[in-house]
């Protein structure tokens, strides 16, 4: 419903529920404000937006930010009483914060150029407008900032003025603060402790080189999604700061994960590897100290996009003085994985180099032997040796956390034939590569082989390294076995080439020797379906049916069928018997 | 105390309780007992207790006060009764068994028991 009121003699229309300030702003009447923000509930604290309102014959001075517009109301924004009030309020604010440009400028507009009183603290910037408090509580829902104490002792801060981990560092307070009184200080120690090596905020660009370079929302960390999950979807109104501030209006909380059905002619399986779970090697005490980290975590730590902006720091926030790097964690070990993960030696050497280079710390590498085959690899190993890294030939046996927080690494130095122990500030576990935990499911889905370790089996280890036993399904990268980046790229290119070779032909050649079901004999028991390694059999109308395009004619189903209903074409019983008879004729 | 179930219960309770604070309200009757050493020796305390009991039994609103020796020790225990602007009447040699009749005749029916009276003071001069 529209209502009419007068502002400074000018008749204006307003919507019901609008405040006088909103109406005046729309009508082009300037009213100074400090504690007002359109996204936040008005507080009426700074009292700068006072106007004179004449209503039912009664005149009163009110704050326009809180006063609801009412029909027939007469608003005067610059009467002498209003101007004097604003001027005095600005005098008082300028006396409190003499060096804040926003207040200096506003005060100058009202003829106040010098603070009439001496400030208690000339560096004071906070005018206690409470915008940050409202943003933190009403908008973000972090409930970190609030007022404490009263009267002239009133201050804004976290509870008991103590640092709190409840602060998520979102910075909403700094954005709304009119006087620049709040600064976000990235406290590396705090950040590291709050979110070790993970993304620093709930919304982030996945990695620096990401394409497309757009942020994603971590729904487990996002206040809004957490609220939604907590209330089973009933509430989803917390925070919303990103949406509020995004000028492109690109934030959409309603987006959902989608499943797409796409028909394709070929599939490249490139599901990658899983980092070895260091808890499976308890002798290394992973999890017992924040300074025992995996190789991948070290990558995050030393990355310039990481939580410490690339500085190598311990959990205490200081650079380590000594670092131990343990090779073969989860590799070449009969208790975990027997195979060599191939990449760890080289990344461990690189990390040793980074630690030396960035911190100058003593580095101890515990290794069995260094595997550095390939171009320039051995040369790099030599360079790292020259950089003063201590190489201890012998697998790290045990890591223990000392009472003072230092880490004691024990191992046998095979060169010296004696047990060695070093006390260090940080331990990097050179964790190996393992197959993805769902490798068995994936192998079944695509009808491809899977070895004992969980890596997918290629059609031929030497001649067909990217193909699988299922036509049209190819392998690329570490899902097939541990390999480093150049090898993975080469492998992937090969898979792509295979796919192109297949698809450009436009047709596929299939083997004529496939299985066929005699529907008269089939009883529909279904025993053949799970045994088919190529998922070529399905039950159609209660009976088994073989997809000739998938069938490789291996004969497993033929042998399995209890009622003898499946025959391998070109290898029917009659043909085989005939062949036997033919052979026997010559005997 | 049990719950009041209706307004009637409240009224009944109030009536019952009113005696409890009647000492702080004006009543029409003041009974004064001489409680000097002489009076107590002659049994004034027993007389006063008898008066209090009798007043309570009959649910009479009256003030009972004590005074010291007024000099007529030979006639103790002495009890004065005064109602409103009436004369203040002094009874002598009062014993507890005389109390019911005193209350009945003088306090309730405002009839002075002349045979026990030993003195009168004009109510106005009081």
């Amino acid at each position: 419903m529209s209502i009419t009121l007068t502002i400074d003699g000018q008749s204006v229309q307003a919507e019901e529920g609008q405040t006088v300030l909103e109406v005046a702003k729309r009508a082009g009447v300037t009213i100074p404000t400090l504690c007002y923000h359109p996204a936040l509930e008005p507080l009426g604290a700074c009292r700068l937006c006072v106007v004179e309102v004449i209503q039912r014959g009664r005149s009163q001075i009110v704050t326009s930010c809180t006063m609801p517009a009412e029909p027939g109301m007469e608003v005067r924004t610059s009467t002498p009483a209003v101007m004097e009030s604003r001027r005095t309020v600005l005098e008082l604010l300028l006396s409190r914060c003499p060096n804040v440009p926003v207040i200096q400028q506003l005060a100058a507009q009202y003829g106040v150029t010098e603070p009439p009183f001496e400030a208690d603290d000339p560096n004071e910037k906070c005018i206690l407008c409470g915008l940050c408090v409202r943003a933190c509580n009403d908008l973000v829902g972090a409930h970190v900032l609030n007022f404490s104490d009263r009267g002239i002792s009133r201050v804004i801060g976290p509870a008991f003025m103590e640092k709190t981990r409840d602060c998520i560092g979102c910075g909403a307070c700094t954005i709304v603060c009119p006087t620049g009184a709040i600064e976000i200080v990235l406290e590396k120690e705090a950040l590291y402790a709050a979110k070790p090596l993970g993304p620093a905020s709930a919304i982030y660009v996945p990695f620096l080189q990401a394409v497309p370079r757009v942020p994603v929302i971590d729904t487990d960390a996002c206040i809004r999604f957490r609220q939604q999950a907590r209330t089973n979807g009933e509430l989803a109104d917390a925070c919303g700061v990103c949406q509020l501030l995004c000028e492109a209006r690109a934030i959409d909380y309603t987006q959902q994960d989608e499943e797409l059905d796409i028909e394709v002619g070929a599939v490249v399986v490139a599901t990658g590897f899983a980092d070895f779970d260091p808890y499976l090697a308890p002798q290394y005490s992973f999890g017992k100290s924040p300074n025992i980290i995996t190789g991948i975590e070290f990558e995050r730590l030393s990355n310039s996009g990481g939580p410490t902006e690339g500085e190598i720091l311990t959990a205490e926030g200081v650079p380590p003085k000594s670092v131990a790097i343990l090779h073969c964690v989860g590799s070449r070990d009969k208790h975990t994985n027997k195979y060599c993960s191939r990449v760890c030696c080289m990344y461990a050497l690189k990390q040793a180099h980074l630690v030396r280079d960035k911190t100058g710390a003593d580095v101890f590498e515990f290794y069995m032997d260094i595997r550095a085959p390939g171009k320039s690899y051995e040369e790099f190993y030599e360079r790292v040796q020259e950089e003063g890294v201590h190489f201890i030939r012998g697998k790290g046996a045990e890591v223990t956390v000392q009472p003072d927080g230092k880490l004691l690494v024990k191992g046998e130095d095979a060169d010296l034939s004696r047990v060695v122990a070093v006390s260090v500030d940080m331990v990097i576990l050179g964790t190996g590569m393992t197959a993805q935990p769902d490798a068995a499911e994936v192998s079944h889905l695509f009808g491809i082989g899977c070895g004992n370790e969980g890596f997918f089996t290629e059609a031929h280890p030497k001649l067909r390294p990217v193909e699988t036993n299922t036509d049209g399904v190819y392998l690329a990268g570490t899902c097939q076995g541990p390999r480093d980046v150049p090898d993975t790229v080469a492998h992937a290119n090969a898979a792509a080439a295979e796919v192109l070779a297949l698809l450009t032909k436009g047709e596929v050649v299939i083997s004529p020797a496939t299985a066929e079901v005699n529907r008269d004999k089939c009883v529909g028991c279904g025993d053949c379906i799970p045994v088919c390694p190529y998922t070529a059999i399905a039950r159609v109308d209660g009976k088994a049916q073989v997809n000739a395009a998938l069938c490789k004619g291996c004969g497993t189903c033929v042998a399995t069928c209890p009622s003898g209903a499946i025959e391998a074409l070109h290898f029917t019983d009659e043909q085989i018997v005939a062949q036997i008879e033919g052979v026997l004729k010559w005997v | 105390m049990s719950k009041l179930k209706n307004v009637g219960d409240l009224q009944a309770l109030r009536e019952k309780l009113q005696g409890q604070i009647s000492r702080r309200k004006a009543t029409n009757t003041t009974i004064t007992v001489g409680m000097g050493t002489c009076g107590i020796a002659a049994g004034a305390r027993e007389v006063m207790h008898a008066i209090l009991e009798e007043l309570q039994r009959r649910d009479i609103q009256a003030h009972v006060t004590t005074v010291g020796c007024i000099g007529m020790c030979s006639r103790e225990p002495l009890v004065d009764i005064q109602q409103g602007d009436e004369d203040r009447v002094t009874y002598g040699n009062v014993s507890p068994n005389m109390v019911p009749r005193l209350i009945e005749e003088h306090v309730v029916n405002s009839r002075v028991i002349d045979e026990w009276v030993i003195g009168r003071v004009s109510g106005q001069g009081g």
Partner: protein, 594 residues
Amino acid sequence: MVEYRADVLVGCEHGEHPDLVGALKAEIERRNLGAEINVVETGCRGFCAMGPILLIEPEGIIYCAVKAADIPEVVEETLVKGRVVERLAYQEPVTHQRICHYEDIPFYHKQMRLVLRNCGMVDPRSIEEYIASGGYSALEKVLTTMTPDEVIQAITVSGLRGRGGAGFPTGRKWSSTKHAHGECRYIVANGDEGDPGAFMDRSMMEGDPYAILEGMTIGAYAIENVREGYIYVRDEYPLAVENLRLAIERATEMGLLGDHILGSDFSFHIKIVRGAGAFVCGESSALMQSLEGSVGEPRPKHVHATESGLWGQPTALNNVETWANVPLIINMGAGEYAKIGTTNSKGTKAFCLVGKVRHTGLIEVPMGMTLREIVYDIGGGPQEGREIKAIQTGGPSGGCIPSHLLDLPVDYESLAEVGSMMGSGGMIVMDDTNCMVDVARYFLDFLKDESCGKCTPCREGIKRMLDILTKIVTGNGEMSDLDKLERIARTVQRASLCALGKTSPNPVLSTLRYYRDEYEAHILQKRCPAGVCRDLITYNILEAKCTGCGRCLRNCPRKAITGERRKLHVIDQALCIKCGICKENCVFDAIEVS
């Protein structure tokens, strides 16, 4: 049940002599009078200057300033022998006559104790005594003979206005609450009394808690759809909290509170919420915030609490004194009640008469009584040789009324007209030894900590006004400061968020209005006419009067006084901190302030 012959009423239990009741009981026991004499602990009887007070009924004998050591004599003489202990009776200050009967003392004689009728007369912990003295007869009348609308009508006709300070008509408040839309309605009793020197509400909550409960219950009945009421009491009043809690418990047990009150369909519950003692929580919107569990800070009141108050529901919030008036009005009849007081201010008002009068205490007078009657007849006038200078009413938000306006009738409008306010009922009398600049400074000093600090004018304005006043009382003031002071005061008055802020400059503005000469003396002559402001005075020993007794020398905390025995003593001005202890101790009046 034992029928006693006498009641001994002991007030002021939490005063300086907490052993009085014990001593009395022990003495009565020792003399075997336990069956005859009833000792009753009551609330405050208001005659605080003379406390502790014993009242012996039915004789109506009142003893002042009784000590435990006086008890045997009181028991022997009065309770056994019926004689008055003259030396404990009240002594009339002018004629020095002893007055032994309660009603004869002028302090009580001039008062009209209606709301305070039970304070000091019944045991506040006994619902039986309250009922016996006519308690709950108003509720009875309301439940049996009046409709809710008739109750509101009666309150409206009675002319009762809020006793908390603003004086809003209570009937109108109840009516708007009743007609506002909401799921339910609430009523609240404001017992967050925070003014320095005021204790009316405390005395009522301690001394007659049932009257407040009864008033609220009647209010709940009248406003309808009120299931819950709250009493907000500051936690600095432990006895009030205890007595109210006990009263709620007992009233609920008796069926006078809770579900189905007196067997009717009307149900109402009362809860006590303890405040943490912030002055600002006496402001209604801050009080409700605090009640809801938030920080007590005022909200802009474009929507009244009667529309959207506690938890967004229509709420009738009244001061405890207002609630205590309700049963009185119902019992007296609205018409009778309206006969008391003036045209626009009806009924009586309780005041805490404190400061430089002989008889300080809690008093209740009909509206429209003049300040002179209150100060001279009830308060006994100024101390010997002193002169009344001003009367400060309305607490820190009130103003100072000069002595030439002593014939001003005390009602809402008259007080506002002269720049002060009724407030909750603080009344501080000042004489010629009070410096008005210092008084204004005192109140601002109180307010600088008690302002919630939410809005700029109140928070910063009070601080800066205080800065200026401090400058003036230390002798550094300039005449231009007075203009500055007035301008800030005007802005604080105009632009502050809540009533507390808007009224906070009243002490400054009213003293500036009536005592500008004192300000000017401080600024121009660097002189404090009342001899209060330490930086502007010196203490000197008069040669003519000093006997060299050495009392001042012994008591001086800074050893600033020297002198041989029986010879003139001298104050070393460099060491003197102007504490005034020497002057207080000098029995020869030989120390002069200049």
